[in-house]
């Protein structure tokens, strides 16, 4: 497979020196995650050509668009890059449809029907049609996000950069949007109209990175501290931020209907059954479920038969974090839980001990 993006650059944002060295394959989604101020946006701006890196080289689709040694610096309008901005950047004087079609005019002098069709396709695929004639100020945050995605995708650019696409949304909308974005990414990276696309998704939210990225790159203080598959990252966290990230429980399973007539459904992860409430849950099939380490309660004793989401657990490891303890558990699948020191003492937590882990049903988040 050919690398859609191959970059090795050094940039500067204020006092921060940012080093980015990575490849993204065609059809791959790289999730670039890191705390705010770690330099993520600067990297995207450099790739798009809006900021000039100090030094290095950027190749998009095999073509050098920046090379400090050979003095190559292709302007943004000639780079095959689509960028979805962190802040809302829809043109306020154009309707949703005109925004989507913006990138089609002028770019490829031929323009014509092919591109026009692609605009309509994206408009219908992302459900923009009902509000296509409205200006951005009349759209909700989620609607604006979809227009922004369509606008960036329509041009057929080989590299798609998404900068905190959930930035402006509330929690409820984020959940919905994450599913939509997943569908969008599938569609965009498949790219029926051309070569498969590469995507870089920038986020500060571990959930986004863990559920949406094929690979995950972690940026801390301007340095990439980890690039690799999700499982590698979860197995071997090497910094506080990574530990934070790794503590997040993300399990892949199958969503199934529960007993007929009952509103409950369940997700099967290996042999372990998680009960979930039906509100907002997607259709049956492969899903991710996620919950934070703080959403797991550890109990002494045995499981009451009626309780939902209580599992017999074995303590694999106990790690001391700054203000609490991180407990690795085996409930049939490995999960993490956070407990306070007094609680740990009371439970006499140690490696090998058998206890009960209870997960609040309301804390379980599902991403299809």
């Amino acid at each position: 497979m050919m690398a859609a993006l191959s970059a090795s650059i050094v940039s500067v944002a204020g006092e921060l020196r940012i080093e980015f060295d990575a490849k993204v394959e065609e059809g791959e989604v790289l999730a670039l995650v890191g705390p705010s101020g770690s330099g993520k946006s600067t990297i995207l701006r450099s790739l798009a050509g809006l900021t000039r890196p100090l030094s290095g080289r950027i190749e998009i689709g095999g073509e050098a668009v920046f090379d400090s040694v050979r003095r190559v610096d292709v302007p943004p309008w000639k780079r095959s890059v689509g960028l979805v901005f962190q802040e809302d950047a829809l043109f306020p004087h154009l309707s949703a449809r005109e925004n989507v079609e913006f990138g089609l005019q002028k770019r490829n002098g031929a323009g014509g029907e092919g591109s026009g069709r692609s605009a309509s396709e994206w408009i219908s695929a992302l459900g923009i049609a009902p509000f296509a004639d409205r200006r951005p100020e009349w759209l909700s945050g989620g609607e604006r996000q979809r227009v922004a995605l369509a606008r960036a995708a329509v041009t057929g650019a080989g590299l798609l950069l998404l900068d905190e696409p959930f930035g402006g949304l509330d929690v409820r909308s984020r959940r919905q949007s994450r599913s939509e974005l997943r569908a969008f990414l599938d569609r965009a990276s498949r790219a029926p109209e051309g070569r498969p696309r590469a995507v870089i998704l920038v986020t500060h939210d571990p959930m986004d990175a863990l559920t949406l990225g094929d690979r995950i790159a972690v940026l801390e203080d301007g340095k990439l501290t980890h690039v690799g598959k999700r499982d590698e990252l979860l197995r071997n966290p090497r910094s506080r931020f990574l530990a934070e990230l790794a503590g997040h429980n993300v399990l892949e399973g199958t969503l199934r209907a529960g007993e007929p007539g009952k509103p409950e459904r369940e997700i099967l992860v290996g042999e372990v059954r998680f009960a979930v409430s039906t509100a907002e849950t997607p259709a049956d099939g492969r899903v991710f479920l996620s919950f934070g380490p703080q959403d797991v309660t550890l109990l002494d004793g045995t499981i009451s038969s009626s309780a939902r989401n209580q599992f017999p657990a074995q303590v694999l490891d106990v790690i001391r974090l700054a203000d609490r303890l991180r407990v690795s558990l085996d409930i049939g699948v490995p999960i993490s839980a956070d407990v306070t020191e007094p609680a740990a003492k009371a439970l006499r937590l140690e490696r090998g001990r058998e206890i009960v882990a209870a997960i609040k049903s309301t804390a379980i988040e599902i991403v299809s």
Binding site: R45, A48, G49, L50, P75, P76, W77, R79, V81, G82, L83, F85, E87, A89, L90, F91, P92, H93, F102, G103, K106, R107, L126, G127, P130, E137, W138, L139, S140, G141, G142, E143, R146, R151, A152, T155, D170, R172, S173, Q176, S179, E180, A183
Partner: protein
């Protein structure tokens, strides 16, 4: 994909421009404090209008008559026409020449920007008569540029062109200042978005920057027109006061004062009426133009 839940999508962001009824304490006191300036501005205008109506109405039947209204009109018609044409041309030039400067100052950082900025503001505080002297030194018959034109048989000073030049000198900075603020108010991310969507600088300017700054650009053009129409000092100095050629309305008022107060009042009243029309017209235009 299914649309977002209604509660969110049904709340448009747009807020009404009508202010909420706030607290009213102090309204009267502040109103009283505002009165002196309001009276000071309104009184001369009101008295001028009353006197003007009397002059124009009674003109023919009075012993010290300045002539019937048609006669007055005939006397100053060339001045009205000249004022309208030159001010319109000045506005056009101010916009054409001012747009790149306004955008340059709004968007780019470069050496000497501070100085250019100050230079652009200078004509607004310079006494227009002094501006006229400067223009003469450059474009007059003996001027450093004017002498070449003179050699070619082209006279710039004391021509209708000189009127437009004098007006542009004092009016263009008003346009630049206003348009620049308009460009600065356009968030840079819109332009960046346009560039990642395949538009170069030129395309980005016309498809995004210009339309978004349009209300400010229109307001700047109105300001430039108003400043041009009221221009006196620089025109007097550089273009002179030749009836039909360089005598604009403000100059006509000055000349009329030497003839009779009545005529000056009549012309002033007509100027006022024209200014009012221009003001209302441009306000309507800005409302319609400003998206």
């Amino acid at each position: 994909m299914r649309p977002f839940d209604e509660t969110e999508s049904m709340t448009p962001k747009r807020t009404s421009s009508v202010p909420e009824p706030g607290r009213l304490e102090g309204k009267w006191a502040i109103g009283v404090a505002s009165l002196p300036l309001i009276l000071f501005l309104v009184l001369p205008i009101a008295v001028l209008v009353l006197a003007g109506v009397r002059e124009l109405g009674l003109a023919s039947s009075r012993p010290d008559s300045i002539g019937a209204p048609p006669l007055v009109a005939a006397k100053i018609l060339p001045a009205i026409r000249l004022s309208l044409v030159t001010s319109a041309l000045t506005t056009l030039f101010s916009v054409l020449l001012g747009l790149p400067v306004a955008y340059l100052l709004a968007r780019f950082r470069f050496r000497g920007k501070e100085m250019l900025d100050t230079l652009m503001d200078l004509p607004m505080v310079l006494p227009p008569v002094a501006a006229g002297v400067g223009l003469l030194l450059v474009f007059g018959r003996m001027g450093i540029v004017g002498k070449y034109f003179d050699a070619a048989g082209i006279r710039i000073a004391f021509s209708s062109i000189a009127v437009v030049m004098a007006q542009t000198f004092v009016a263009a900075p008003f346009f630049v200042r206003t348009a620049r603020a308009g460009f600065e108010a356009v968030p840079e991310r819109f332009e960046n978005a346009a560039m990642t969507l395949g538009r170069n600088r030129w395309g980005t300017f016309w498809s995004v920057s210009f339309p978004l700054a349009r209300p400010a650009i229109a307001a700047g053009a109105v300001l430039a027109f108003a400043r041009a129409a009221s221009e006196f000092g620089a025109t007097m100095m550089f273009a002179g006061n030749l009836p039909g050629v360089t005598q604009t309305l403000p100059l006509a008022v000055m000349s009329a004062m030497e003839e009779s107060l009545g005529l000056a009042i009549a012309i002033s009243t007509i100027s006022l009426a024209l200014a009012l029309f221009a003001l209302l017209g441009s306000k309507a235009a800005v409302r319609k133009w400003g998206r």
